[in-house]
Symmetry: C2
Subunit: 481 residues, 2 copies
Amino acid sequence: MAGKKKALVAARTLKGFQDFLPGDALMRAEVIRRIQGVFELYGYSPVETPALEHLDVLLGAGGEEANKELFRLESPEEEPIALRFDLTVPFARLMAQYPEQIKAPFRRYAMGPVWRADKPGPGRFRQFTQVDIDAAGAATVSVDGEVVAVMCAVMAALDVPDYLVLINNRKLIDALLSDCGIDDPSRQKHVLRVIDKLAKVGLDNIRKELGGGRIDDSGDPIPGVGLNEDVIERLLTFIDISGADRRAVIAAMGEALTDTKLAQEALAEMTELAEALEALGVSEEHARFDPSLARGLDYYTGPVFEMILPQAREFGTVMGGGRYNQLVERFMKQPIPCTGMSVGLDRLLAALRHLGLVEAGKTAVQALVVTMGRVAKADTLKVARELREAGIRCEVFFASKKKMQMGNQLSHADHYGIPVAVIIGEDEIAQGVVSVKDLDAGKAGREDIEDRDAYREAGKTGQVTVSREEMVATVLGLLER
Amino acid sequence: MAGKKKALVAARTLKGFQDFLPGDALMRAEVIRRIQGVFELYGYSPVETPALEHLDVLLGAGGEEANKELFRLESPEEEPIALRFDLTVPFARLMAQYPEQIKAPFRRYAMGPVWRADKPGPGRFRQFTQVDIDAAGAATVSVDGEVVAVMCAVMAALDVPDYLVLINNRKLIDALLSDCGIDDPSRQKHVLRVIDKLAKVGLDNIRKELGGGRIDDSGDPIPGVGLNEDVIERLLTFIDISGADRRAVIAAMGEALTDTKLAQEALAEMTELAEALEALGVSEEHARFDPSLARGLDYYTGPVFEMILPQAREFGTVMGGGRYNQLVERFMKQPIPCTGMSVGLDRLLAALRHLGLVEAGKTAVQALVVTMGRVAKADTLKVARELREAGIRCEVFFASKKKMQMGNQLSHADHYGIPVAVIIGEDEIAQGVVSVKDLDAGKAGREDIEDRDAYREAGKTGQVTVSREEMVATVLGLLER
């Protein structure tokens, strides 16, 4: 194989897909670890489902757009199958499939890749990671309040100071549309799509799109819904209600809606939700009622929520969710009310990175064993073994002979950000000593004059020679700083 | 949607695919966490690549069988793509794609699902999890020794006492086949396939398959390779060499091979490998040279290794790997020698479970907040909040009204194995107290008479009423036991 001249295969990643090299992968793992900690604190347990599902399990569950974006293929038995587009539909499948093992109420978290054959763009990928919680058998919207509390607790665990959960209720929207006499489902969806753009295009443009339409910035015509003036005003008055005071927003919404049974139910849910948020200590700074919030997916039936980062609003929704009381009914007769939310990990990390709130890690490796001249490989491995037995994460440098110069080894440590080098040569091995080099000392020393004592202690170049017995303690000492 | 009578979608998992409910998912997460710890201790850093790759990246890299087992589909741009069948080929792609960011030597670990459209069977799945390490730019077989040491360290980290790594070298097999005059590649592969079955069918059957063929237990004829007696004896003498003493095995192999350059190189590699294993403290009890080991994948070029569990040999290989010096050359001109290994997580866990060495977890939840009668939901949530603020993983029971009886709530805790219940009613809230119930006490009390003091302390039924201020300390006290 080596000798033959074969055409090379181009090494490339699929369009819309990403590789994560160690710095990013370490950062992602740490973020996931913290999110997991929050989920478990709130009583959620892990569940895993496969990447592939029977097509009928996925098809139609998320609406037209989700259907179109499925990556479809065939099983070896030639059944139509597809890659999952979210973790919620497989969860609904699970609830119907394991009635003996999984008894409601059941809180589960899941994390993993999902696939959508979407148009890739900045922060939009065809494979992206979702990190979800869902609560099944959660009949009351207090559980929705708890889900919002989890969203906020995740941000606290990630040390993000500024975030905002917008909360609405599909029942409020239904009551509003009913008040306006908009009963046709496709017309209802059109109205929802328009009001969902409020934050993006502003009230004036929304007004035009609800009426006769408008011309957008690029000169393209956007057809309108064709509602009359009165109806438009009624809609706009409602979706324009805003404010941090959740009780005041509920009161204003009550004013704006006709007093029907549906409106009463929707407002009672929002009141219970407000009480739950207060009990859970979710401040009005971090979670607000916003009557303009609609959410894209078809399966929501009650409260819906989205988190945005006010300092990085252009990244859009970084978490989203809501109540979906009828999804499990696709699979079984018994209805199981559910609510939950999903963290769009890739988008959240892109936004946090933009804000300087996370940075790529460097390496998990704490020490590199470097050799000078002719050292028996077994001796090198023994040094590494001693370090590892003390719990020090340690790498041994091995390369072809011409790449074994010490400079090359140290620049390897520098490239990957390994903080300590343990250097051995034939003499060191014979004398039972090693040189321990603080690879950060060079840089730190120049910047930080105050740290002189420690500096001198470690030698002028941050390098000391110690006995083999002292090696572990010396390395640990450097790592502690 | 709820009102309409739609046909139900059958809730089922694809053939050869698995769902992991919380008990299993918790166990898997713990096992992965320990394996990751070992990988990092040996200087490996995490990398993630996507599930899908361009077809040409995967096709032909693993040999005919891997090609046949690919799950193929099309990208939205109508390019042929496929789900990865291992983590090694994407790693080779990575090494060629990021020469600036990834400089050899480079040790990376990866974990995630891979897909093979194989025949499912006990312990064989179409989606299974691999947990891999690979070292690139590792020119010398001391690194292979380190890989074997990692395999053993993983088993130690999982508290598995009895495991065995079998080690061979493709160069030894090449030298042997060359000695026997077997030069035709397809004939070579046939011979390898036959000797790979040694452990399964025994020496006598191997002898027949290398010659004229045999009839298997089911009466089916197995065609033979058609070698002559002398050649068969030569092959069998070689692959029958065995023993715990690695140096003795090397000597015996040297005796059995013609003294060619290839044989010398192969034996020198095995000697270096033996030295590395000694330096790393890998005992002969846990790692042996076995001249009959071949390994299925085409890309190996030097040492190969497989781990079996002698007490659960029927589960086959639970980890496997080897050196593959030419895989990166599919993507770039510069050769990058690599070695690595893969843990077949699903098979390993199946075997460990069979041996009683792992068991499914129950739940991560430590306390359930249970309500009696009419308690305001906000009050329930406040109790949970106090527990969480103390780091107690806690779930709140909410269900439809008719399912809120206390018996139902306690049987929920019992079903999921939640150890502590914090019980509140209207009176408790008014008086500022809670009841804390040790849900293990009932069972433990009956079995374990010695623990009486602690038992009495917690009350006869394991239930105590304490002030709200004492709640957290009381729960923590129970959890500590």
